[in-house]
């Protein structure tokens, strides 16, 4: 058990480090350094201001020094500075993050619930036409652009029916609708994977044995299938963290909510590479942490995982 946890944590740190290094390299590959890019839109900027600003944010130091300074900063929770506002990235984001966090996490919970609901009804419904219909919902959900679904709902609910305001006013609808829009989008991959995984489980002989014991379909589904089928769905849920962020930004834009979306848009418009870089690192860290949690949950679901350890890496081809 301890070995399993240690290995997973080690891998997580490795991925964060690799992500940092790749982003750092990518920023170096840009035609100019972040300060020059930031000031390129500013006609008043002269070489002196550029040099002064570079010195202020440490971009005048040798590359290796920059690399290590930023890397050590990472472990102190320092994700760099926004060039536009001069604030630390964490502060700039922290001030608005709670709103986005609420949206994203409630959408995530709703998405998982929706996915399980869809799969359970697809599995347990008797009528084949209804089953077919439910099975085809997730692929449809996956194809609907978040921003479009948001706009169509706004159009319908606030303009046609008048049951919600165009702008966030704290009413239930103005909170629930954005969450729903995002949840539908996020639930699609989870439901698709869970559905396939349930199919795979149902193809296994032990399900026949359960039926031979006299178990009903719902007994089998809730007491056996779900636990067996959960691992792939959990994996994909962990991976949706990235999508969740993009979806939140778009949802916030559509529903005129404040949050990370605004910061991102401002950063891009102001050509603030440092701020975007900081957000990338923050997201990557969040992603890695969530997936670490998922990894650590696996053994609770499936006792075989600790036993077998990692799945054997492939050997080289013969010859």
């Amino acid at each position: 058990m301890a070995a399993y946890i240690a290995r997973r944590i080690g891998q997580a740190l490795l991925v964060i480090w690799l992500a940092y290094t790749l982003v750092f390299l990518a920023v170096q590959l840009l035609p100019n350094d972040p300060v020059t890019i930031f000031l390129s839109a500013d006609a008043a900027a002269n070489p002196e201001t550029i040099a002064a600003m570079k010195a202020q944010y440490g971009y005048d130091q040798p590359l290796l020094v920059q690399y290590f300074n930023q890397l050590t900063g990472l472990f102190r929770g320092d994700f760099g500075y926004s060039l536009a506002s001069g604030q630390p990235v964490s502060e700039r984001i922290g001030s608005v993050a709670s709103s986005t966090l609420v949206l994203a996490s409630s959408a995530f919970v709703a998405a998982v619930a929706l996915a399980v609901l869809l799969v359970a009804s697809a599995t347990l419904v008797r009528q084949s036409w209804l089953k077919r219909f439910i099975i085809n919902l997730p692929p449809l959900f996956a194809a609907v652009p978040v921003f479009w679904l948001g706009l169509v709902l706004l159009q319908l609910l606030s303009i046609q029916l008048g049951i919600m305001s165009l702008f966030p006013d704290g009413s239930f609808a103005s909170i629930a609708v954005p969450v729903l829009v995002l949840a539908i989008h996020i639930s699609a991959p989870i439901a698709q994977v869970l559905l396939k995984s349930v199919d795979n489980v149902h193809a296994q002989p032990f399900v026949d044995v359960l039926r031979a014991k006299g178990a009903s379909p719902s007994w089998i589904f809730f007491r056996h299938t779900l636990k067996n089928a959960a691992a792939p769905a959990m994996t994909i849920s962990g991976i949706t963290v990235g999508t969740l962020l993009a979806g939140s930004v778009i949802t916030e834009t559509v529903f005129a909510r404040s949050g990370l979306g605004q910061v991102v848009l401002q950063a891009v418009t102001a050509q603030d590479v440092a701020l975007v870089q900081g957000m990338v690192l923050l997201t990557a860290t969040a992603f890695v942490l969530v997936n670490l949690v998922v990894d650590l949950l696996y053994p609770l679901l499936d006792p075989r995982i600790l036993k077998s350890g990692t799945h054997g890496a492939p050997r080289a081809l013969v010859a």
Binding site: V15, I16, Q192, T235, P314
Partner: protein, 301 residues
């Protein structure tokens, strides 16, 4: 952290109601699935509309007689009807014409993204699956990183540093799709490679490359082809989303996401400006996903 996604990804591709490959009780009937599938109605029902969409991209003026850029101000804000299928916008431009003319922009950007994903992803996947343990471990961690950094943000870095535009978007979205290709290629190659006939090919005098090209790649292409179609849809979604935020081509170029963003200002008065182009996007993505499922079935060995 290590994410074992091969299964889920392939599972998503396998899609909904398709029966598994091995439940055919009768051998004789499974003889020529490829021909059967190509002749099947559902295959052509999926392909025909997609071919029309490709037609929009190649010869837009064949499909719509209206000018997508300059409109007739007198005809502004007309609802959908026989004359203007999708209605007209605030400048009196035909929305259907703008959708048709925007196709090439959207498809080219998505195509660029998918090409990047396919080429780099296939390379990485092959490397991971055939070059030994060390290469596999390194590649898989690299793929974890690609998954950890959302494609959305990769695109934004590029857009921030260069300029908003289709190339920046395509490259960003493309980098994001490398991971899925690499995973599918790796797991497929691993699956095929462990089959007896691959080993037999070596014992019958095959060299590394001859076996890779004659047996491994052809037999693992099915899921990759399927992913190609699905990923094109995903890329279209991502690109229209970024276009909606204003990071794609600047107006007045018609691009699907941008069209919807423009229509947003007239949400109260002209619902068709946002709704109808969106339905086109949904249909195209659904059809591409369907095509992916069909390809997966046809090229299953």
């Amino acid at each position: 952290m290590s994410i074992k996604l091969e299964e889920p990804l392939l599972q998503t591709l396998g899609g909904g109601a398709d029966p598994g490959p091995n439940n055919g009780t009768a051998q004789g009937h499974a003889a020529k699935p490829k021909q059967r599938a190509i002749r099947s109605v559902s295959f052509w029902l999926t392909c025909a509309p997609l071919i029309v969409v490709v037609g929009w991209a190649l010869f837009p003026s064949l499909f719509s007689g209206y000018d997508p850029i300059s409109g007739v101000p007198a005809q502004k804000f007309q609802g959908p009807g026989l004359e203007h299928w999708f209605g007209t916008d605030h400048l009196g431009r035909d929305v259907f014409a703008r959708v048709v003319h925007g196709t090439s922009q959207t498809l080219l950007t998505a195509g660029l993204a998918v090409c990047i994903g396919l080429v780099v992803g296939t390379g990485l996947g092959l490397l991971a699956a055939t070059a030994g343990r060390a290469a596999d471990a390194v590649t898989m961690r690299l793929i974890d990183v690609l998954l950890a950094v959302p494609g959305f943000l990769i695109s934004l870095i590029i857009v921030t540093a260069y300029a908003p535009g289709p190339i920046s978007l395509g490259v960003g979205v493309g980098i994001a799709s490398i991971a899925s290709f690499a995973r599918v290629v790796r797991s497929e190659v691993l699956r095929v490679r462990s089959l007896d006939y691959v080993e037999a090919a070596f014992m019958n005098g095959g060299t590394y490359w001859s076996v890779v090209f004659k047996h491994i790649l052809p037999n693992s292409c099915g899921p990759v082809l399927a992913l190609l179609a699905v990923d094109l849809g995903v890329a279209i979604l991502a690109i229209s989303g970024l276009g909606f935020l204003g990071f794609g081509s600047p107006p007045p170029t018609p691009e699907w996401g941008l069209l919807i963003a423009e229509g947003r200002q007239y949400l109260a008065s002209a619902w068709w400006l946002t709704t109808l182009p969106g339905i086109v996007i949904v249909l195209v993505v659904v059809l591409l996903a369907g095509l992916g499922r069909q390809l997966h079935k046809i090229f299953r060995f």
